[in-house]
């Protein structure tokens, strides 16, 4: 499937054969897990939006509906003890990294048992024992921090690898330049993943970046760069897996651009005045979940009936988690100062 000219052009021919091979090569359970996580993300985001609309959420949220393949394809390529650091549109990464959905929803609702005990909220969900080193709310701020995480891995001779995820808006920050150069000169075990969802808030990527595809910037740092169809989960998986293998072998970082699209607005303030309904609809027709289901059916990995079962189970999981999270206790404002500094 080719993408329209008005959006970043992507050459998917190189990855098409990889995808065909992957469908045959990956265990059926792994493919089912990927579908399950994508469905959980979709339902989590829809539930979050619903809770917000019903006035049950205090803060804002940045929904990743339409970007599920980028989250799941990237993180599925990691080993369980590998690490991620990511950004404010981070619910998808957190679910893909294996977070407890009840604790995520609890954090979104600001509850004490939530991942950050109600101190972080939607933009800052971290699950450190689970290898999710947290989401940052200042665009691009996770990128320099990821240099240090990867540096620690290298200095400790760890076999772990870090995925550093950010959006298309982050690549125009000075921090992006400083960090990719530093990671490259030290050959750090990090894979930089730019989730290009076409807009930095209202700023279209083709107006805000002097070059496209964005992965071409990798040339400036002497690292491999690849742009992939970010709505094709196995294309993402294939590209990220190659980059992870390279990083784990000590050959240094790569830059991967997952070309995708956010269906919803930037945040709750978004009136969608900077793009057309036609454009949004054109991307909805390339729904990453529908495409993955079709692929699995065509490859005779699973029948639609079975996939519908996975889909419905994901929906039930999110609903159960939401009900449980709503019943959890609020945090206490006592002794808040005690938590600013570590003992």
């Amino acid at each position: 499937m080719s993408l329209p000219d008005t959006i970043t052009e992507v050459d998917t021919s190189a990855t098409a054969s990889d995808v065909e091979q992957l469908v045959d090569k990956l265990p059926r359970e792994r493919l089912a897990w990927m579908l399950q996580k994508m469905c959980e993300i979709r339902y989590f985001e829809e539930e979050a939006e619903d809770l917000y609309t019903r006035g049950l959420v205090h803060g804002t949220m940045h929904l990743s509906i339409g970007q599920e393949a980028s989250s799941v394809g990237s993180i599925a390529a990691l080993a369980p003890d590998d690490l991620i650091i990511h950004h404010h549109r981070g619910h998808g990464h957190t679910i893909a990294k294996g977070a407890d959905i009840t604790l995520m929803m609890a954090e979104f609702l600001g509850k004490e048992p939530g991942y950050c005990r109600g101190r972080g909220g939607s933009m800052h969900i971290a699950d450190i024992p689970g290898g999710n080193l947290g989401a940052t709310g200042v665009v691009g701020s996770g990128i320099p921090t990821s240099v240090g995480i990867a540096l620690a891995l290298k200095m400790r001779n760890s076999s772990q690898v870090l995925l550093s995820l950010f959006g298309d808006g982050a690549v125009n920050l000075g921090e992006f330049h400083e960090s990719l150069n530093m990671a490259a000169i030290w050959r750090l075990p990090v894979v930089f993943i730019c989730e290009n969802n076409q807009y930095g808030m209202s700023g279209p990527v083709e107006k805000m970046s002097s070059v496209k595809p964005l992965s071409i910037r990798a040339v400036a740092y002497g690292m491999p760069g690849e742009t992939v169809d970010g709505n094709a989960v196995l294309a993402v998986y294939s590209a990220v897996q190659k980059a992870i293998t390279r990083a784990r072998a000590g050959h240094g970082p790569s830059l991967i651009e997952n070309v995708t699209y956010r269906w919803r607005g930037h945040s709750k303030s978004d009136r969608n005045v900077y793009r057309t309904p036609v454009e949004i609809e054109s991307w909805k027709r390339r729904c990453p979940i529908a495409r993955f289901k079709q692929l699995l059916q065509d490859a005779q990995v699973m029948q639609m009936e079975e996939m519908d079962g996975i889909d419905q189970e994901a929906k039930a999981t999110v609903q159960r988690a939401t009900q449980e999270a709503l019943s959890l206790p609020e945090p206490s404002p006592d002794n808040l100062e005690d938590e600013v500094y570590a003992p």
């Binding site: 101190r119 990821s146 500094y341």
Partner: protein, 333 residues
Amino acid sequence: MNGDGTREISYLEALREALSQEMRRNPEVFLIGEDIGVYGGAFGVTRGILEEFGPERVRDTPISEAAIAGAATGAALMGMRPVMEIMFMDFMTISMNQLVNQAAKIRFMFGGKASIPMVIRTPAGSGTGAAAQHSQSLEAWFIHVPGIKVVAPATPSDAKGLLIAAIRDNNPVLFLEHKLLYGNKGPVPAESYTIPLGQAKVRREGSHATILAYSIMVIRALEAAERLAAEGIQVEVVDLRSLKPLDKETIARSVSKTGRVLIVHEAPQTGGFGGELAAVVAESDAFHYLDAPIRRLAGRDIPIPYNRVLERAAVPQVEDIVAAARALTYEGR
């Protein structure tokens, strides 16, 4: 050397000794910054450390202050103990996002489930003819941010003990080194030791007025106190040493005793830390003992100028402290 292993060494040598001893003690301590390796740092603090510990742990970086701060923050998040150097405090403006929005916030924002044990060493202050972009004292910005600690030693022995304490602290600690102090010598124990963060020290006892100071202004205040003593005025000099956490008890005790307080710092007065110190005194029980208004003597509200005479005029000198303390002592009598 004395029997207890105390020698006279410089502030700079004391810092270098602290770094070396901590690096020997803990393999997770490492240094990161611009020109800290073979060059030895712009002021020579890390000279010789590369030779002992190698380039992995004495990590020369590109000119990338944001990425240096990010690298330190990320490594600290992983449990290592980075000591980052920013060549001049002025350049910390480029590190601010990582320090203020990441390093200072991560622990709290993640529900207390992470910590960032890192030190940010940086030379601050004027007096070297380096003009407006290499002479600033920006400590108030950092004191204002919950999640960061700020330390500003005045003597060689404090430099060593506070730096070791900062490295062992489990939080981001901004460690201010005044450029004019690097060459100052003083007695420093050879063995490793810590001075707890948050403890002020009365450097000189007096009964007529208290001077609250830190970093180089402690040295100038002590010289001013010596001159004033010749006039029969006895000022007490309190070296704050740690600006955050702040030893409010020692401040209140001294001001309660003398009934007069002069706050001295090099940074520009408006929005400077002296305003906070004045408030701390005013809100404490010491307020009831005040015999005169709280006075501040700080840097003028100007960028640091280049010319020697102009530069001297920009920040408090010994004679300025003498004049201000004398005036305060006679105020209202």
